[in-house]
C-alpha cells in the first residue's frame, strides 16, 4: 500500500520534469511546426551550466540558477536564429536533419569540454524530507512538484493574459495572418524558443538535483521521453503537454516498479507507437486537417 503511494508520487515527480520539457516541444511545434530534436540536450546544457556556476565559479545559488536559465534561453534563441530560421521554407526532412545535427553538436561539444566520465554534483536543494504517515517524500520531490506547478501556472497566465502570449497563439494558428496584423513573427518565434529553453533549464536543474550526476548524454533520453509525453497529450497543446508529462511519468514509474527497469524504456516507446497509431492527435490535441 505504501509502495504504491510512493511510486505514484515518484511518477508525479518524474512526470513534472517531463511536463516542463514537453512544454518546450509543444510550444515550438505549435509555432515553428517542427520538432526541436535538440531540445532534450538543452537540459544537459542547463545541468552543466549550473555545475559550472556553482562548483567552478562558486557563485551564490540564486545567481547561478538565474544565470543558468538565462544562458539556456539565450542558447535556444541562438540555435533558432542560426540553424532553424534559414530553413523556414525548406522541406521538413531538412529541418529534421538539422535539428539532429544541433543535438549531436551539443552532445559532442559537452563531451569534448567535460569528457565522458560522469561528474558528481551535490544537490542545491536543502529542503528536508517530509514524512506523512508511512510515506516519506524527499525534499527534491517536493521542490520539483512545487516549481513545476508554479511554472505551469505562470506560463498559462502568460499565454492567455498577456499581449506577447496572444502573439504566440496567433503565430501558431496562422503565421501569415499574424504578420498582417502587425505581429513581429521573428521576435515571437525567438521568444517561444527562449521560454521553452528556459523551462528546459529549470527541468535540467531539478533533474540534476535529483540524480546528482552529470554526463553529456544525460538529456537525450529524458528529451525523447518528454517528446512522447508531448505527443501523448497532444502536440501543440500546452495543457496537453502538462497532462502528457504527468501521465507518462506515472506510466514509467509503475512500469519500473512492477514490470522491469530495462523494459520501462521500451514501454515508453510502445506508448508513443500506440498513440500515433490509435489517436495521433493525442489526448487533448486538435485534429489538424491537412488541406488536400
Amino acid at each position: 500500500m505504501v509502495n504504491i503511494i510512493e511510486q505514484v508520487i515518484n511518477g508525479f515527480r518524474t512526470g513534472s520534469i517531463y511536463a516542463l520539457i514537453a512544454l518546450g516541444y509543444t510550444m515550438v511545434y505549435g509555432i515553428a511546426k517542427m520538432i526541436n530534436f535538440a531540445h532534450g540536450d538543452i537540459i544537459m546544457v542547463g545541468a552543466y551550466a549550473l555545475y559550472v556556476f556553482i562548483v567552478l565559479l562558486k557563485l551564490p545559488v540564486i545567481v547561478a540558477v538565474l544565470f543558468t536559465i538565462g544562458l539556456c534561453a539565450l542558447l535556444g534563441m541562438m540555435i533558432e536564429r542560426i540553424a532553424y530560421k534559414p530553413l523556414r521554407k525548406a522541406p521538413p526532412l531538412a529541418v529534421l536533419i538539422t535539428a539532429i545535427g544541433v543535438s549531436f553538436f551539443l552532445q559532442n561539444a559537452s563531451l569534448l569540454i567535460f569528457k565522458a566520465n560522469p561528474i558528481k554534483f551535490q544537490s542545491i536543494v536543502k529542503v528536508k524530507t517530509i514524512i506523512i504517515g508511512d510515506v516519506a517524500i524527499a525534499g527534491i520531490t517536493v521542490v520539483t512538484l512545487v516549481v513545476t506547478l508554479v511554472s505551469m501556472i505562470i506560463l498559462t497566465l502568460f499565454i492567455n493574459k498577456t499581449k506577447a502570449g496572444s502573439a504566440m497563439r496567433a503565430v501558431s494558428e496562422d503565421k501569415g495572418a499574424a504578420q498582417l496584423m502587425g505581429i513581429n513573427v521573428n521576435r515571437t518565434i525567438s521568444m517561444t524558443f527562449a521560454i521553452g529553453s528556459a523551462l528546459a533549464a529549470v527541468a535540467g536543474i531539478l533533474f540534476l538535483c535529483q540524480y546528482q550526476s552529470l554526463k553529456p548524454t544525460m538529456g537525450a533520453l529524458p528529451g525523447i521521453k518528454a517528446f512522447v509525453a508531448a505527443v501523448l497529450g497532444g502536440i501543440g497543446s500546452v495543457p496537453g503537454a502538462m497532462l502528457g508529462g504527468i501521465l507518462l511519468g506515472l506510466i514509467e514509474s509503475i512500469s519500473k516498479a512492477y514490470i522491469s527497469t530495462q523494459l520501462s524504456d521500451a514501454i515508453v516507446f510502445g506508448v508513443l507507437i500506440l498513440v500515433l497509431l490509435l489517436k495521433p492527435t493525442g489526448l487533448l490535441g486538435k485534429k489538424r486537417i491537412e488541406k488536400v
Binding site: A83, A90, L93, A94, V102, F105, L276
Partner: protein
C-alpha cells in the same frame, strides 16, 4: 519449339556496350585492389580499411534508399547492422562448415534476419511520417541494442564440447575473420547494382513518388505503406549484410559498436553524398572512412565536425547559393558527372 526460341533469344538490352564497359571496369577495379593488397603496395593501415570502407558503402547506399529516395529519415540503421553482425556471428560460431560456404550462408542469414526485423518493425510503424517515424526508428535502434545486451548468446562449443553461453553485454569473440577484400567487393557491387536497378524500375519510381507527394501517390493507386515497407526491408537486408561483413572483420563485436553514433555516421555519408545520389553515397562513404584514419589526431573532433557538417549541408541545400550554383554552366558540367546514376 517454344522453349528453344526462349533460350536462343538473348536479352538484347542487357548486353549493351555500356553494360559491357561497366563490367570491364568492375573487373579491372577488383584486379587493381587485389594487386594493391597482395603485392603489399598498400600499407597495413589502408589494407585494414578495405572491409570497413565496403561495409560503409553498403550502409550508405542502403540508407539512401530510405532517406534519399523514399524521403524518410531512419535513425536506427545501425540497429539492422547489429542484427546482421550478431546473427551471422552466432551462425559461424555455432555451425561447423567449410569456410566459404559457411561465410556465404552467414551473410545471407545476417541480411535476411535483419530484413525480417525490418518487416516486423515496418508494418506497424511505417504508417507514420517525418519526425514521428524518425524518433520511432531511433527508439528501435536503441531497443535492438538493449535486447542484444539483455539476452544470452550461444557462442559455439568449448573444448569439452559444451555450449558456451555469453552474456549479451560481453559481446561475441573468437569470430573467424572471414571478411576480405574479395567478399566485400562482391557484396558492394551487388548492393550498388541492386539498389540502382531498384531505383530505375517501376517500384523505384513509386518510391520516389511517395517522397515527392504521398497524397498524389495514393490518388494514382499506390498503397503507400506497402512500398515504404518494401524500401525499408530492402535497406535493412543490406544493412544486415554490411553487419555480417563487419562482424567477421574483427574477431569480436559488441552491441555498443552499433549505436546511435554509427547511425549518425551513416546519415552523414548520405547527406554529404547527396540524398538520392547513389554515386555520391559511395564516394562520401569512401572519403569519410579514410579521412578519419588519416586525421587520427583530430579524432575527438570528428563527431563535432559531422554535426556541423549536417547543419551546414542542410542550410546550404536550401540556400540561394545552391540555386545560383546549379544554374551556373561551368559547375553543372562537373556536377552532371556525379548525377549520372541518379
Amino acid at each position: 519449339m517454344r522453349t528453344d526460341k526462349k533460350v536462343i533469344r538473348k536479352p538484347k538490352q542487357l548486353l549493351t556496350m555500356k553494360n559491357l564497359l561497366t563490367l570491364t571496369i568492375i573487373i579491372a577495379v577488383y584486379l587493381m585492389i587485389a594487386a594493391l593488397v597482395e603485392f603489399h603496395i598498400l600499407n597495413r593501415q589502408f589494407t585494414n580499411l578495405i572491409v570497413p570502407i565496403g561495409a560503409n558503402i553498403i550502409l550508405a547506399v542502403s540508407l539512401n534508399l530510405v532517406t534519399g529516395f523514399l524521403g524518410e529519415l531512419s535513425l536506427g540503421h545501425a540497429g539492422f547492422m547489429a542484427i546482421g553482425a550478431f546473427t551471422s556471428a552466432i551462425f559461424t560460431l555455432n555451425v561447423n562448415m567449410p569456410g566459404n560456404p559457411e561465410f556465404f550462408l552467414a551473410i545471407i542469414i545476417g541480411g535476411s534476419v535483419a530484413a525480417l526485423f525490418g518487416f516486423l518493425i515496418g508494418v506497424p510503424v511505417l504508417r507514420l511520417r517525418g519526425d514521428y517515424l524518425a524518433i520511432v526508428t531511433l527508439g528501435f535502434g536503441e531497443i535492438i541494442r538493449s535486447i542484444i545486451n539483455a539476452i544470452s548468446l550461444p557462442a559455439g562449443l568449448d573444448k569439452a564440447g559444451k555450449l558456451i553461453v555469453k552474456k549479451g553485454t560481453m559481446g561475441l569473440s573468437g569470430i573467424t575473420t572471414y571478411s576480405n577484400y574479395t567478399w566485400v567487393y562482391i557484396a558492394v557491387i551487388i548492393t550498388i547494382i541492386a539498389c540502382a536497378n531498384l531505383v530505375k524500375s517501376r517500384h523505384g519510381r513509386v518510391i520516389c513518388s511517395i517522397r515527392d507527394n504521398y497524397i498524389a501517390a495514393e490518388s494514382i493507386g499506390i498503397h503507400v505503406s506497402r512500398f515504404k515497407i518494401m524500401a525499408f526491408v530492402f535497406a535493412a537486408f543490406f544493412a544486415g549484410v554490411a553487419g555480417a561483413l563487419y562482424g567477421h572483420n574483427y574477431s569480436n563485436i559488441k552491441a555498443t559498436d552499433f549505436g546511435y553514433d554509427k547511425s549518425i555516421d551513416i546519415l552523414v555519408f548520405v547527406v554529404l553524398g547527396g540524398m538520392g545520389n547513389i554515386k555520391g553515397s559511395v564516394i562520401a562513404a569512401i572519403i569519410l572512412t579514410v579521412l578519419p584514419e588519416l586525421l587520427r589526431s583530430a579524432q575527438d573532433y570528428r563527431m563535432l565536425m559531422y554535426a556541423v557538417l549536417l547543419i551546414a549541408m542542410m542550410i546550404f541545400n536550401s540556400s540561394e547559393l545552391k540555386t545560383r550554383m546549379q544554374e551556373s554552366d561551368k559547375l553543372s558540367r562537373i556536377t552532371r558527372l556525379f548525377k549520372l546514376s541518379k
